[in-house]
């Protein structure tokens, strides 16, 4: 009798463990935690983008970026001189590019690239992953979680992502970006975890390569990423020529 009770209790505890594991492995919750570890919701940061060609030739761009809320973001080019003053604004699915000489913002799309190379506008104006993607599945491996993410709408640049998350730090290590057709568009690799202060410890380098552009690489280096609040009016078209004044 006692043996049977033990068996039932054991099965119950096993079921409870399974349920607990399932709860612990809620993909969308994990995605939220990944986002929270990557950046505050409102922040400013500097990024250097480096395009590297197969022959080793490099071209660098430096951007100042501010973000507030879930989907308001501005990126301003501060170098090189040929790009200085260009600013891109994102409000949800809407994106605009302001070029000082042109003097007015024009609508752009997420898959265009304002700098050339493998990074496109959606990489430069990336929102939190959980804002644009739903976790469809999650698998646990020895040191990582593997997340399968599906875009919430067709306006998102990549139809689905395969994200590898480090179990200890809950930071992404590799993300593969796929088109609707299932074609791999690019792979993103995070590295060089760094303490940005205020408890923010996250990768400071993002490297990308693409099977569509063999031999080409692009890097994004992050610096001075810190929490900061901005008025919503900063994220408007008429403010684009004035973004530099926020620095």
């Amino acid at each position: 009798m006692l043996h049977i009770i033990h068996k039932i209790t054991g099965s119950f505890l096993f079921l409870l463990f399974l349920t607990g594991t399932a709860l612990a492995l809620d993909g969308n919750e994990l995605l939220r935690q990944v986002d929270a570890r990557m950046q505050p919701q409102s922040y400013e940061m500097y990024r250097k983008l480096i395009n590297i060609e197969p022959d080793g030739k490099k071209k660098e761009f430096v951007l100042y970026t501010v973000k507030t809320g879930q989907d308001k973001m501005v990126a301003l080019f501060i170098s090189p001189a040929s790009e200085e003053g260009r600013a891109t604004l994102r409000l949800g699915d809407n994106m605009w590019l302001y070029i000082p000489n042109v003097g007015k913002p024009i609508r752009i799309t997420s898959l265009q690239s304002v700098i050339g190379g493998i990074f496109n506008n959606s990489d430069i104006l990336r929102l939190d992953y959980h804002v644009e993607y739903d976790a469809e599945s999650i698998t646990e491996q020895e040191t990582t979680y593997q997340l399968e993410l599906k875009a919430k709408s067709s306006s998102v640049a990549y139809d689905h992502l395969k994200m590898e998350v480090d179990k200890k730090t809950l930071l992404p290590t590799t993300i593969e970006c796929y088109a609707v057709s299932g074609m791999l568009i690019k792979s993103l690799h995070y590295s060089k975890t760094q303490d940005f202060g205020d408890g923010l410890i996250r990768p400071s380098v993002l490297e990308t390569d693409s099977p569509l552009h063999k031999g080409y690489r692009s890097l994004m280096l992050f610096a001075k990423l810190q929490k900061k609040e901005f008025a919503d009016e900063v994220f408007t078209l008429n403010f684009l020529p004035k973004v530099n004044e926020l620095r």
């Binding site: 500097y46 250097k48 395009n51 060609e53 030739k57 071209k59 660098e60 430096v62 100042y64 170098s79 090189p80 001189a81 040929s82 200085e84 003053g85 409000l91 949800g92 699915d93 809407n94 070029i99 000082p100 000489n101 042109v102 003097g103 007015k104 024009i106 609508r107 799309t109 997420s110 898959l111 265009q112 690239s113 050339g116 190379g117 067709s154 306006s155 590295s191 060089k192 380098v205 552009h213 080409y216 890097l219 280096l221 992050f222 610096a223 001075k224 901005f230 008025a231 919503d232 009016e233 900063v234 994220f235 408007t236 078209l237 008429n238 403010f239 004035k242 530099n244 004044e245 620095r247």
Partner: protein, 433 residues
């Protein structure tokens, strides 16, 4: 055992250092000095441009505009500089844009310098900005033309992204963000005086004009309502919009109504009269990014204040008659044709209906920063056109190289058939600093 431990420690150290060694080897550094902000900022570009033109001999405008109409080709070399500067102090900033150019061509030497903008701006709050001084305006959503650009300078549809000279204005800008269908509302008020030495090329003197633009981002659509009132130009009211119908498909349009549009018109007896009538102009365009990275911009423009095909032919015929006149008998018709050319018939895109199309391919064959493209402008009334293939390369940091060939074609008494040149080869090099 000890040796094994030392070897492991050494290997561990190497493993730990490896990323930094690779880092150092690749020279990927982000020096914070690179992002240091300076109160005084100066930039701009130097440009060198060389053009070779085949003259459209016997065309109306080669006879009207060239001092030596018998020449068959023309070469020019042009150097220019654009200087952009700003100085920030607290909530205020001083902004300056200067441009100077010098040109040597087959006919002679010319040089010009201009203050494109010079204004003081004060921003007490992100939702409020005030400015006073010379400032450039580019209102409207159209790429090649802007019927609602009531206080814009005329832009060249062959180079619509070039900086333009401004007007002396006082501007107030108020903006507010909202949650919901209406995301942004922004009101810009511009006071534009026209006096003897200020903005005297805008319109009739001794008037103070007011232009206003209300911008709304409503249901993911940019909408502008624009008005111009004052006595220097006719009263105008307009609307423009831009929206993404799909992530890679943008639609934009403009509509402008001019209450009393004044137009100088050549009559059948070669006399002229000034007509005052209402005019309605529209523009409808798309921007589409295809999967193969070809960006297409296509615009249709109806210029309600323009000349009909019949009116243009009458002008060309009068000019032709002027060229045929005996010089000893004077050249009244020729003088009048030159005058009419300046007052309207010789302006860029003087006709009624136009089509603009530009196709660019981003980085074909994996050639980074290389963008070939082709642009065409068609006068839909007389079927004349220009077609311009070009290549742009920006692979060297701060350098831009552009090679463009333009073929300008049309029959007798058509807009592009009567231009000064029948084609043009142009090489432009810019260095940004």
């Amino acid at each position: 055992m000890k040796k094994g431990l030392s070897t492991s420690l050494f290997l561990s150290c190497i493993m730990m250092l490896l990323p930094s060694l690779l880092w150092a080897q690749d020279e990927f550094s982000f020096d914070l000095e690179e992002i240091e902000k300076k109160a005084l900022q100066v930039g701009g570009y130097l440009e060198l441009r060389g053009d070779h033109l085949n003259i459209n001999q016997d065309s109306v405008f080669s006879n009207l505009n060239l001092a030596a109409p018998e020449m068959s080709t023309m070469d020019l070399i042009r150097g220019s500089i654009q200087l952009d500067g700003s100085y920030e102090y607290g909530i205020s900033s001083l902004n300056l844009r200067l441009r100077a150019a010098a040109q040597q061509d087959t006919i002679g030497w010319t040089d010009i310098s201009d203050v494109y903008s010079a204004y003081l701006s004060v921003k007490p709050d992100p939702s409020l900005a005030l400015s006073i001084g010379k400032k450039s305006y580019k209102w409207g959503k159209g790429y090649a033309w802007n019927p609602v650009g009531f206080i814009n300078r005329h832009k060249d549809p062959n180079d619509p992204e070039e900086a333009l000279e401004g007007y002396v204005t006082q501007e107030s800008d108020f903006n507010k963000s909202y949650q919901g269908l209406l995301q942004t509302a922004d009101l810009t008020l511009v006071v534009l005086p026209v006096w003897e030495d200020i903005n005297n090329d805008f319109g009739e003197r001794d008037n103070v004009n007011l232009a206003a633009k209300l911008y709304l981002l409503y249901m993911d659509t940019d909408i502008d309502l624009i008005v111009l009132t004052g006595n220097s130009r006719s009263n105008k009211i307009g609307l423009d919009f831009s929206t993404n119908l799909a992530p890679h498909f943008e639609l934009h349009g403009e509509a402008a109504y001019i209450q009393d549009h004044k137009k100088i018109v050549l009559l059948e007896d070669n006399s002229t009269s000034v007509r005052e009538q209402e005019a309605f102009s529209t523009l409808l365009g798309i921007r589409y990014l295809a999967e193969n990275d070809i960006t297409s911009i296509i615009e249709y423009y109806y210029n309600g204040g323009g000349y009909s095909e019949k009116e243009m032919i009458r002008f060309y015929q009068m000019a032709e008659a002027g060229f045929a006149q005996e010089p000893t008998l004077g050249s009244n018709l020729l003088d009048r044709a030159r005058e009419l050319s300046i007052k309207g018939y010789g302006r860029p895109q003087p006709g009624r209906q136009y089509l603009y199309a530009k196709f660019t391919q981003k980085e074909p064959f994996d050639i980074l920063y290389f963008t070939p493209g082709i642009t065409t402008i068609v006068n839909l009334d007389d079927q004349s056109y220009s077609i311009s293939p070009e290549t742009v390369y920006t692979g060297l940091t701060n350098w831009e190289f552009r090679l463009r060939f333009s073929l300008i074609n049309g029959g007798e008494f058509t807009e592009f058939g009567e231009k000064v040149n029948s084609n043009k080869l142009e090489l432009r090099v810019r260095y940004f600093f």
